[in-house]
Amino acid sequence: MSSIPCAVVGVGQTHHKSRRLDVSFGGLVREAVFRALDDAEMTLEDIDAVVLGKAPDLFEGVMKPELYLSDALGAVGKPMFRVHTAGSVGGTTAIVAASHVQAGKHRTVLAVAFEKQSEGNAQFALGSGKGASLGAGGAFAPFIRSYIHRSGAPEHIGWKVAVKDRLNALKNPYAHLQIADISIEKVRASPMMWDPIRFLESCPSSDGACAVVLTDEAGGLAAADAGRPPAWLLGASSRSEPPSFPGRDPVRPAAAMVCAADVYAQAGITNPREQIDMAELYVPFSWHEAIWLEAFGIAEEGDGWRMIDDGSTELGGSFPVNCSGGVLSSNPIGASGLLRFAEAANQVRGAAGEHQVDGAKVALAMAYGANSQYFSTWAVGAEQRPFG
């Protein structure tokens, strides 16, 4: 299927915090939007369509925030779309925005995602407004128990991921958690929240937003000529599966594996571990790094934890994961997926700052949502067609 090449030419995000009490909804998203526009050397006038993503409206109690925010996003008189695929929504937002460019429908599209968790309560919203909410940790803990059992991974793997991502966050000025004295001992001593998940193996609740400017081949080439390297879209895919049926495996969800295979086929990636230089994976609980390394074919089944144990996924390792600090360090839920996609783009643009992976040319980003049933993934590259 032929499509128009698509390039990421602007990335912006807020400083993520527990409570951004200093800004309104509109003020929050506009911080990210204007950083992305400045990065792209564009103004709102250059934007042809806007795609907004966020988690369920119950999180902040504003129904149809895409309508409420249309003027804040400069979308009056322009096409405006809302995306919702639970926790994966930020990634899906980027993919929907890219598809408008790839289809030739709109030349330059602004993807925006946000959450302002301080206005409501995520546990309330995830529990459908009832008592005894499982929360995400309560829903996912059994999946992690199953992974640990079947892989035989030692318990320190979860602690290592928790430390690695928080050390990476110290190199990312936008990251919410800045825990300078993070250590294995500190993670191990933190309270058990949803056995086997400890407090410091869990993501925070954040207010924050992210914005990405996507444009066509001419726009990408023009940015490159101006000395602002774009990230070229190599492959993008969204897949889902029903939440429950006998035989469903949330550790290796079929939707995740189909999603990965689709992206790799589009990008010409046949050996993800060798051909991809780094990945931003959606890891809200530490063990999900190992789970997704395997489900996305970066590690063999049962071996994902070994990449963590031997330091491969550290910033200086052979396959760095979540150099930004990841979801474990910043979790404005709706934006968390788009942050993965934006950080991957910045890596291949050489624009990741202190958490840049030296010489990163191809990067992978994924987000998942709901009961590990929605998946969104893209691969981006410094070159348009690195694998032919």
Partner: protein
């Protein structure tokens, strides 16, 4: 016609107002109304950005009103509990003196005959003001502002946040297949449905196979065992939020029913402390007495009528290394 179950979700949200709306709300506590300049225009309420272009505005706030002119209106003859006034009133677009855009608010005019485009109105302020648009109770006809009750004065601190209690009431239809499961539970029977295509069995009255997109009904029903084995579990440390019912860590277990591949996910347990729950444990269904029946459930899936949870049945544990991987 399906039975309808009504449920209400309520939550006390707290908005961050930002610099411009925050200043507007703070001024309301001082019985002043602010707009913002945008070129030659004065926008009321003030905005952080130009609503047409999204361009940043200079936060150039200016006082307007408090009197104004009705530009358009409609009559509300039967106010609901969520309306600003209990008696019939007008919703009106009011262009406050000095503003170029109208403010939407209520006018306590007594009768629609008293309302007209061009009518002059002034605010009736609330005596106890908190920094919300409801600090203006409504507008009244004429040029004279009023105060309802005793004036408690302005806010002592700048207003930066606003409480907003959202409430929504749903009426969900309960599918016939779900009602059949509830009926069976009164006889302590656990019903499932078997897909004729893939032969997977689903507990409860789901009414369809999510794999084959086949409708499942009475003809697909199968009886399921009410004895099973815990395959996996979650111990949830409750986070406190409005509406939370739990204070201590609680268990949700996955139960594989005897003689089937059916797993009931995230099930409550009874007489099984969080410290004792384990994979392989044998459990039996616990059924509520008729007196405990409620109207709840049936809408979000995973309802099994009077099944209230699972308790250990005293049988020895099952030792199967694959059990823990069986979650759905």
């Amino acid at each position: 016609m399906a039975r309808l179950v009504e449920s209400t979700i309520t939550f006390p949200y707290r908005r961050s107002l930002g610099p411009v709306v925050g200043a507007f709300m703070t001024a309301l506590t001082e019985m002043r109304i602010l707009g913002t300049r945008s070129g030659d225009a004065v926008l009321v309420p003030p905005m952080e950005w130009d609503p047409r272009t999204g361009a940043e505005l200079g936060n150039d706030l200016v006082e307007v009103g408090p009197s104004g002119t009705v530009e358009s209106w409609t009559w509300v003859p039967n106010p609901s509990a969520q309306h600003p006034l209990a008696q019939p009133f007008a919703f009106a677009f009011i262009r406050l003196d000095g503003a170029t855009t109208p403010l939407l608010h209520a006018v306590d005019a007594g009768s629609p005959n008293a309302m007209s485009v061009g009518a002059r109105v002034a605010p009736r302020w609330r005596g106890e003001r908190v920094g919300a648009i409801t600090d203006i109770v409504c507008f009244v006809l004429g040029e004279s502002a009023e105060i309802e009750g005793t004036d408690a004065g302005p806010a002592s601190e700048p207003v930066t946040r606003m409480d907003y209690e959202a409430s929504i009431t749903y009426r969900n239809p309960v599918p016939v297949s779900a009602d059949r499961v509830i009926e069976a539970s009164q006889e302590h029977r656990l019903l499932g449905q078997k897909c004729p295509v893939c032969e997977r069995v689903y507990a409860g009255g789901r009414g369809y196979c999510p794999i084959d997109a086949v409708e499942l009904g009475e003809g697909h029903e199968v009886d399921l065992s009410d004895v099973g084995t815990i395959t996996n579990f979650s111990i949830v440390t409750p986070v406190q939020y409005p509406g939370q019912t739990e204070t201590e860590p609680f268990v949700r277990a996955f139960v594989l029913l005897d003689g089937s591949d059916v797993i009931l996910s995230y099930q409550p347990v009874i007489e099984l402390p969080a410290t004792d729950v384990r994979v392989g444990q044998r459990v039996v269904a616990v059924w509520a007495s008729p007196a405990e029946d409620s109207d709840e459930g049936g809408a979000m899936g995973g309802t099994y009528g009077r099944l209230i949870g699972w308790m250990p049945n005293g049988e020895p544990d099952i030792d199967d290394p694959d059990l823990v991987n069986r979650i759905f």
